[in-house]
Structure formats: structure tokens, C-alpha cells
Symmetry: C2
Subunit: 193 residues, 2 copies
């Protein structure tokens, strides 16, 4: 998606060859006008899939998922880190390793919000090692719902998550796919990558 | 706001006299159509305030804030819990006690996203003891930006946060104000409360 790639070129900060900071517009300060355009693009890509629920994971996926959901006319569920006093009853639960934070968290979704008849689109801001996305896939599989695919804002295509998850047969639509950040310069994958 | 009060009456679950679960539509599963109407109401209430930034706190405020921000045409910033490897440079920082989780967290905002010329509206899902909202107020005050006020979805008016924060001169616009939940029944404040 040219709009997002241009924005990354303009406002993204390459910290090192692995770390891309997009906190000016994506995951700390959030440009909701950009999110609207991203939502329209995913709505176009998944137009025939009758999405009934969007599932994301706290925290930085939530804003993108909610603005995108307006295009789909469906609710958003976010997988919560750890169990809080306010969640009673039965939950689906999985483990997610965070490479950014260097820890493993348990994330949960209430069983009442994911049903076998649901058709679920996953949305997240980043795909790199794929741990968060695999956690969400596990939650959907536990529920018996149909996994329609995943909409990702920025995929670091030089890290293994995207390839591994596509190899499982999951449709992954990343709006910007970063091929490399060598020398502090962001290079995107071509359409044939 | 009648739409939100009606929804709380229909789908809210009174766990005990203090705890109201609204995770069917507000803070686990999220009804973005409802969020759009809430955003329009805050945009009406703060129409003359030239809001340049909306500030919220992770996690459950983010979706509401992003959908509301579409009405204001401004970016959202969310205060992040703890410092991650991906945040470099200078931040504003404050302490927030969570009564739900029974702990104290440090929340931060990058200094580059809150400037003295900003006019900031705070958005959050709940106002009860007021700790999260006071943390956000502290962050705005540290930055020298103008605090326009706060838009809250559900205020538990029988807890002390709202009264204490209004007494400081902060404009707080809560779309549903719960007066009591005695006997498992949600009673809302009248317009004169």
C-alpha cells in the first residue's frame, strides 16, 4: 500500500537493522486518517470473506483494528494480557513470547465472544517473528471459528514469521512489507517478493 | 447519553455493588458502531475547544479514543505502561494505581507528541477512583499543553474520582453516569445529579 510505505519512508525511524520505530503515526501516536485508509484496503482484500469478528491483541493493535472494523461493520475483540479480576468465567488462553519485551505472557479471550459460526480476521500492527499472530491463530482454532486470514500493517519480511504462517495456509495481507533496513534505509518488497 | 445507558441496561453485568462488566460491547469485545456515536457526542460537547490531540491510556481506552478521534480529525496518543526497548529518548512519566489489578504502573508518553501548543482531550472507558485520569492529567501538565477536558464512557458516580477531578476545575463529560448498582440493578444519575 503506497500510502503506508510513503509514510514509513517519511516518518519511520530505523534504529538498527532489526528495529523500525513507527511511533509517530502507528503505535504510540496514531494517525486515525491513515488507519481509515488501511481499513478500506483490508475491506477490499477480504470483501468476499463475510468477516463477523476482528481479533487483535493488546495494546498497539487495538486502534488499527477498531478503525478497520468500521469498514467491515463487525465488532472487535482484543486478546488480553493476563487475567484480571474483571474477567469471570471461561476463557481461551495461549502463550505469546514478546521479542520486544523479552518475556512470555498469557493472553486470553472470553469464550462467549468467539463461536464456531464466526469468521475471524486477525489484525495487528507488526509481523516479525510471528509469535503474537500465532497466539491469535491458536485462540481462533481453540474456538472452532473459521480463520479468514490476517491483516498486518507492517511486516518485517526479513524475519521468519510471515513465511512460516503463510506456509500453514493462512492468508496474510501485509500493507507494507519491509525487505531490509540495511544502512538505515527502508527497502520494501516488490509485488513479486 | 441514552444509547449508552440503554446498552448498559441490556448488556452490562453487575458483578457486585462495585463491579460493572461491560466487556460485551466496551472493553473486551468492542462495538465500534456504538463508539462512533459516542465520538459524535464528544465532538458535539467539545466542538468549540479546537482539540489537537486525544490522549488515552492502554489498553481498553485505545479503541474508543481512535474511533472518537475520527470525529475530531486529530491524532491519538496512548500512554504506555512501562518502558519498552522500542521507546528511546525523553518521555513524560507518571504513576498510576490500578484498583482492578491491585498494582502501580509507570505510564509514559514521548515528549515529542505533547507540546505546549497542543489542546488535549482525554478519553477513557471508565472513571471510578480517578487514578488513570489523574495520571493522564499529570502527563498533560508536565508537557505544558492545554487540557481541554475529559470524555469518559462510563462513570461510577458513587466512587470519588469524578467529584475530585471536577473540583480541580477539569471539565469531565461522562456519557453514562452510574448512581448505584444496589441489588444488581444499574441506576443512572439524572441530568441534575
Amino acid at each position: 500500500m503506497k500510502l503506508l510505505e510513503d509514510r514509513i519512508r517519511r516518518d519511520g525511524v530505523v534504529v538498527d537493522e532489526d528495529v523500525l520505530k513507527v511511533d509517530q503515526f502507528l503505535n504510540h501516536q496514531m494517525d486515525v486518517g491513515l488507519f481509515e485508509e488501511m481499513g478500506k484496503e483490508w475491506a477490499r482484500l477480504f470483501a468476499k470473506d463475510n468477516v463477523t469478528k476482528i481479533l487483535t491483541i493488546e495494546a498497539s493493535g487495538i486502534g488499527i483494528a477498531c478503525v478497520a472494523a468500521e469498514q467491515f461493520g463487525c465488532p472487535v475483540i482484543f486478546a488480553k494480557k493476563s487475567r484480571t479480576k474483571n474477567i469471570n468465567g471461561e476463557v481461551y488462553s495461549t502463550q505469546v513470547r514478546s521479542f520486544t519485551h523479552g518475556n512470555v505472557s498469557t493472553v486470553i479471550v472470553s469464550k462467549q465472544f468467539l463461536k464456531p459460526e464466526d469468521r475471524v480476521l486477525l489484525i495487528d500492527d507488526f509481523l516479525a517473528n510471528g509469535a503474537a499472530l500465532e497466539g491469535l491463530i491458536d485462540l481462533v482454532q481453540q474456538s472452532g471459528a473459521t480463520l479468514v486470514g490476517a491483516g498486518i500493517a507492517v511486516e518485517k519480511a526479513f524475519q521468519p514469521g510471515g513465511q512460516r504462517i503463510r506456509a500453514k495456509g493462512v492468508r496474510v495481507e501485509s500493507l507494507a512489507r519491509v525487505k531490509s533496513m540495511r544502512g538505515g534505509k527502508v527497502e520494501f518488497c516488490g509485488a513479486d517478493f
